[in-house]
Symmetry: C2
């Protein structure tokens, strides 16, 4: 495509590797390969004894975020500089707000900055042309991440851009229903086939489909963040705490009351009968059980729903994500977007597409 991406810096949670001359130089392939080696070994860039090449330097602690903001101030308004947040941290929001103040563009795979306080959201979206976050609503996220900044994975289904397109065309969206967790999609389609809930969750963990503690998926909070991003996109002034979230395990099995091991060995099994019963009830109504988000007017909720077998969501199998968008034009038959919802490749692809898309501002 004749595209050249000039990488000025790479951050982890404690440091930044940055080109010495930000106006003309860049981190070359050898420096970037060195970064990958260091991070794969679980070490902070600032703690690495590896060299990254002579044309760049490592800054750490408070110097790192300040450097990002400085560069944004120097290059952000006039060049196609993009600050990309692929972390899973709520702590990046202050840097992102400063960067936005400088008129710089941002691309997020990280859901946290968009799902904390409404005033932060409004600030980040204050120049809607300078932000893209297509990888946030259909991504799967491991938050424990010792490889901190490289662990966020997810997909770039064109959900945000499609919703924006519908809204831009003056077609009001009345309702969004989605299955936004590949993990819970997999779990619900396996239990539908008659397998015990506990067995399915344990298998999903073995296959690497869940977070290290599967309760981080089963709580529904990750889906709630995705739902909140969609609700706010439609203009809702909601906070995360306003969303009704159904957890797939009871409070007394929470992480403060029970270790991950105990939950997997004992806790989970006690949920099998209840889940099997709910599936039986759904089936007797000609329905299947799906873990979905529903955004409708000021209402936003996340949890299990009985859905007709022959609806796009009811037909869903495996770990695909599906989003149904209902509007004036898509009234009886929704606009449906479906596809794989997780994977390093797809997140990287989604973030890259966002970065290129934003370059129209700097033709």
């Amino acid at each position: 495509m004749g595209l050249h991406l000039r990488v000025l810096g790479v951050c982890d949670s404690r440091s930044i590797l940055v080109a010495n001359d930000i106006f003309t130089a860049e981190l070359g392939d050898s420096s970037l390969h060195a970064v990958c080696r260091v991070k794969s070994s679980g070490v902070s860039l600032s703690a690495s004894s590896d060299g990254f090449g002579g044309d760049c330097q490592v800054l750490s602690d408070s110097e790192a975020p300040r450097k990002v903001v400085d560069i944004a101030g120097l290059l952000g308004r006039s060049t196609g500089l993009v600050v990309v947040d692929c972390s899973a941290s709520p702590e990046t929001v202050e840097v992102l707000k400063d960067v936005i103040d400088h008129g710089c563009c941002i691309v997020l795979a990280n859901k946290k900055p968009l799902t904390t306080e409404m005033k932060d959201y409004e600030k980040l979206l204050s120049n809607i042309r300078r932000i893209r976050y297509e990888s946030t609503p259909t991504s799967l996220c491991w938050e424990t991440g010792y490889i901190d900044d490289i662990v966020q994975v997810g997909a770039g289904l064109p959900v945000i851009s499609s919703i924006n397109r519908v809204l831009t065309s003056g077609d009001p969206i009345s309702r969004i229903v989605g299955s936004l967790s590949g993990t819970l999609g997999y779990v619900m389609s396996e239990v539908e086939d008659g397998k015990p809930f506990s067995q399915v969750v344990r298998a999903a963990k073995c296959l690497g489909y869940t977070e290290p503690d599967p309760r981080d998926d089963l709580s529904g909070m990750d889906v709630a963040r995705k739902a909140l991003i969609l609700a706010r996109l439609l203009g809702s002034q909601l906070d995360l705490s306003d969303i009704k979230v159904e957890s797939l395990y009871p409070d007394e099995m929470g992480s403060t009351a029970m270790s991950t091991e105990d939950f997997l060995q004992d806790g989970l099994a006690s949920l099998d009968v209840g889940m099997a019963e709910r599936i039986k009830v759904a089936a007797s109504n000609g329905c299947v059980l799906r873990y979905v988000c529903v955004v409708e007017g000021p209402r936003c909720q996340v949890g299990l729903q009985e859905l007709p077998k022959d609806s796009p969501l009811g037909r869903l199998r495996g770990s695909d994500n599906v989003v149904e968008i209902y509007s004036r034009c898509y009234k009886d038959s929704p606009l449906v977007i479906q596809g794989a919802g997780a994977g390093n490749d797809t997140t990287a692809a989604g973030v890259l597409a966002d970065m290129v898309d934003i370059q129209d501002l700097f033709k």
Copy 2:
């Protein structure tokens, strides 16, 4: 959205109504309402005795296209001026190429300019940031149109933008399969229910789902144009004549050999047995028959295919459009986009979204 669209001119096939002062003035609501009244009565703007207001004038014949190109030359490069082609005519391509030469943006709902000669396509796409044509691949088009420029209808499913996004992210697309005709989608799902082909086509005509001569739908040529737009987007150097197109009626029932009335009364009925037979064969293979386009590498074909009942295309009912996109990231499970594929509202919405989208170039 704080958006103000300044309409400088409106064309029909023989004339243009244009603001006198293109630098500051615009066609106001009263002028535009007058245009709608005149065109609804089937009269050319230049032949109308109605006044359109004092701040605009009507130019006709060769003056009209020249005026469009002149305005593009004056405003196209530096402002967000967009020339929009909602006609169904192959004749607009020369004006569009001139306009592109001036660095002006274009938005097309008209498939013709993109599906004639490859060199025209390349010219129109020579600045890919300055063209949008999201309404072309999933639109239904009446070509006979006595209300010439207002008859093109179709939808804006986010197909082009999604394909561009996947390509931009460096994810190569291997295959696109789509049901791109709401009319043929409706026909095939009705005959699947056991109704005779002839009866279904006649009913579709009565309901206004087909063109005045239903053979314009049944020939598959409209779908072939849509397929060609997708194939060219993937880099194919194909022409329309390279596409293998299956017509749903034999050559001897073509419009040169048989009137529309004869075709509807006699010709159609003779096709019932053959269609019923094919559906029976498909069903015995656990499949349903769908009229689809397949774009795969340098190959592009359009026609009836037996598809598994439980695939996104096999499950399709009614007049929805569906597009399945297979790539490296979407390998086993495609990216699927589905929704209503026709309607004045949805075309208007699609064109408007394209016009707004392109404004990022002129922030």
